[in-house]
Symmetry: C2
Subunit: 344 residues, 2 copies
């Protein structure tokens, strides 16, 4: 092959630098959904503005930190699946996804697109599947799936429930994975990025133990972000619960189909992640520009510069290639096809 170095593919990026008019539209749309105002019109962001925003933010950080491509999706906390109304959800997902698509078209070597789904509380999966199909038709390589559209009340069926099957079947047919990612918290007691996100990651991991999702959908691939929530740290607890429930070992029951990103923002956490989890299940991710935008006063580096922690592990070449490139190309075959078409 003659490959001298791996690409660094960041599997977890969000477009979180939306211009004010984007936020203003969403605010007006929610007011409309709640019957407080007329239906708003979206004024749009022109290509120049989009190019400028991304160049000064996501692209600049990507280049500063030495990664090559970011898998980009709309702001997770902005998905807002709790807002009432399927039409609203569908319009908002389309608009958010189209914005991400345009970014990826502007910077085809730097970004690949993952879509938001128009989920709702108690809504059905038909419009969700329709939007996923539309997006994949436009070159998207995966989706973000919210296991709790209620925003912290956990009213949806567990993801092993057959209710979700039409979506898993579509994903399998389209050969796209999902990152399991909740949106903003609707409970004052649950901080969005400090509690609800990690709680959801952990809850879904336990759902997967309880169920038989991958037995029924053997080609399905899911990514749990934020380093798997609490799962790797409590791996013994989960191995034990799995035994109590009469399930196969986690390595068989889940880990042919389940992947964790590396969004863990300190060295000791990354050390634990790589000690506990087989690197074949780990995909480099940073959650940029995401949850934590601060510099660690102890190191002088941004907390979310997760590449630095992984570099410090001194991985062998094969493992390093898997975590930074190989696993992502395997889990996202449509990304692999895009990269291959680019000669990468």
């Amino acid at each position: 092959m003659g490959r001298v170095s791996s690409l660094a593919i960041d599997c977890h990026g969000h477009f979180t630098t939306e211009p004010p008019e984007f936020h203003a539209f969403r605010k007006a749309q929610i007011a409309f959904a709640e019957g407080r105002s007329q239906e708003p019109a979206y004024s749009g962001i022109d290509d120049d503005e989009l190019q400028r925003i991304v160049a000064q933010n996501q692209l600049q950080v990507q280049q500063e930190r030495g990664s090559d491509l970011t898998i980009l999706s709309p702001r997770a906390s902005g998905m807002g699946h709790h807002v009432p109304g399927q039409d609203i959800a569908t319009e908002w997902a389309r608009l958010s996804n189209d914005t991400v698509r345009r970014i990826c078209e502007l910077f085809p070597r730097n970004f690949a697109a993952v879509c938001q789904l128009p989920q709702t509380v108690d809504g059905d999966l038909e419009p969700v599947i329709e939007e996923l199909e539309r997006c994949v038709g436009h070159g998207f390589i995966g989706c973000n799936l919210n296991p709790d559209p209620s925003g912290g009340h956990w009213s949806a069926p567990p993801i092993y429930d057959r209710w979700w099957d039409p979506l898993w079947e579509t994903m399998t047919r389209l050969d796209v994975p999902a990152m399991i990612h909740v949106s903003g918290s609707c409970a004052r007691a649950l901080h969005t990025t400090g509690a609800h996100y990690l709680a959801a990651d952990t809850a879904v991991f336990m759902q997967l133990i309880e169920g038989d999702l991958f037995e029924r959908h053997p080609a399905l691939r899911l990514i749990i972000p934020h380093g798997g929530g609490a799962a790797p740290y409590h791996w013994g607890r989960y191995r034990g619960l799995s035994i109590m429930l009469g399930k196969p070992p986690l390595s068989e029951h889940l880990m042919h189909n389940l992947f964790f990103d590396t969004c863990v923002y300190h060295q000791a956490g990354i050390d634990a992640l790589f000690t506990v989890i087989d690197p074949k299940n780990l995909i480099f991710g940073s959650e940029l520009l995401g949850a934590v935008r601060a510099v660690d006063p102890e190191t002088g580096h941004p907390f979310d510069d997760t590449k630095r922690y992984i570099d410090a592990l001194g991985l062998d070449d094969e493992t390093r290639h898997a975590v930074f490139e190989g696993n992502a190309r395997r889990v996202y075959p449509r990304l692999d096809a895009l990269l291959t078409a680019q000669g990468r």
Copy 2:
């Protein structure tokens, strides 16, 4: 002092081997609470039966694993604060607490009592405080506080909210700490011991970052169980979020008043916990007989034999004493008094 070895004080034990008549009463009580039947009478457990049950379970495991004293409270998942009615909650807490009190009276060198509180969804704190005072009058050394009586819907105010202040003031006056511990999950999507417990630990840790609880109650002491939920593994995330919120460093903001137990069921998790968290904030705990009752096929030892993982760390004498005895005596002064009166 001439002390040659530390006591091993397990701060996290539950009475989870209740006899069938105990469960039958609770079932009948819930039926009554929901208007489905007449008010039941409790037939009681006599001392002989209680002695036999504990000798064959909690006490036997304590002795097998080489710990000396277990801080015992009623089954956490059995507290059931979501069940409607203050009278029901109060009766159930009294009965559960009196059972634990009797165990501690039967085995005064082996167990010390922590109480369940008669919390309810939307109920007020007056009966909660009353039961805490009653229990402390009977020799209890602390309480379990449920931050989410709704069982997964997170309808209660965050624990930094002034709504909780009368309880914190009472705890400070009585000089007792609380372990923050939810009860059973009411959401099918949230497994009790595999999701809700760890999610709650993590959510409360974030609440503490957001608020100013210990600034307003500087003598208050709280224990977050299950190794702090996801907090130690995601310590960098929390340090970063704390900076974003303009809070002091965690060491100042929280860690004079906050403690984690060691209920992490594998060596790599315990290693991470002790790497990240100052041992002055760690208290030995095992959650016996608790969430995970299984033997690790890889080691041949029970997952929840957490003493074994700590022993393997090779801690120096001072640190070891702090984690197994000193921190517990400091955080639970009424336990210290009990032990001192026993010449220990």
